[in-house]
Subunit: 202 residues, 2 copies
Amino acid sequence: MTDTVTPDLIALHPTAQAQLFTDARTANTFTDEPVTDAQLRAIFDLAKYPPTAANTQPLRVLYIRPGETRERLLTHMADGNRAKTATAPVVAVLAADTHFHEFTHRTFPIRPEMRDDFAADPARETMARFNAALQIGYWLLAVRAAGLAAGPMAGFDTDGVDREFFTDTTWRSLLVVNLGKPGPDAFPRLPRLDYDDVVRHA
Amino acid sequence: MTDTVTPDLIALHPTAQAQLFTDARTANTFTDEPVTDAQLRAIFDLAKYPPTAANTQPLRVLYIRPGETRERLLTHMADGNRAKTATAPVVAVLAADTHFHEFTHRTFPIRPEMRDDFAADPARETMARFNAALQIGYWLLAVRAAGLAAGPMAGFDTDGVDREFFTDTTWRSLLVVNLGKPGPDAFPRLPRLDYDDVVRHA
């Protein structure tokens, strides 16, 4: 645990702080230990609870295991991300559903008019991408809660991935994430900004 | 704890699962118990660690306490969000710094050319907003880790807030969040989507 953390002010148990925040690291290599479908479902069963605007829950996930589908994904990855994506036990393509309003009769049943309001809202795709990004934050910490490590990658051809996997959907790719038990060779952690760099008080 | 959670598959302690994910709730009312500056700093000291693209860390926070500044904020809130924002112990305006590249000499010191690459990148503001949204996800769970409740609100005039508070900066507002110890009257939780609604396997 780093010296900047103040556990006395944080109710969360120090072990949990370390597991989710302070000791957890992005993984660039993975062991051969498999990731089970039950683990992927358990990650979702945590990540689904934190809030989204009007409970819209626009995050969507495509899990890809080794095989022909992953070979197709690799063609859209940036050069520096291809080798590690080729060796992770599971790869997740995280996306925003730009038609999340098709679900509002279930996610906000007390206001059925929301469906039509969102259908006509020119800001709907921006809202989908923002709230899906919030949910990716929750999901990445849920991956760590499951004892796994994540390797998020923005370096890929989003249009290519959307054409390859999402042509029959209203999903739009945001991030590709390798998942598994971390290998031994994490990079040194890069510096974090200071409190006074990012926070103002008024 | 809800019946859909599978603690045997989740390494995180069940108490921590409940505190951050399954039992935590969005707050619409707050007790009079104060939120200290030390708590706000401790929240940052957790939330700063999970990953951002190229370690860019674009999230910025303006904390507003009761007084004249909060009165100015209230004029930009949607009608349904004004009363609760007027009574929270602290309000956070969460923003993305569209000039996050001014910090890359400190956040990615081994690649100083990144500053100029980002300066010329037309996708920089989109990148700032996406990565700041990821960090808001981390930050909201860090608020819960500190034993506080958050009340996030997208219903406000973002341009008005930017003019009011961020004219001397490159910050752009994304979300306003009330913070404090939760009052007794949480709304019933709205339904979450099912695994098969949001996840595909390939």
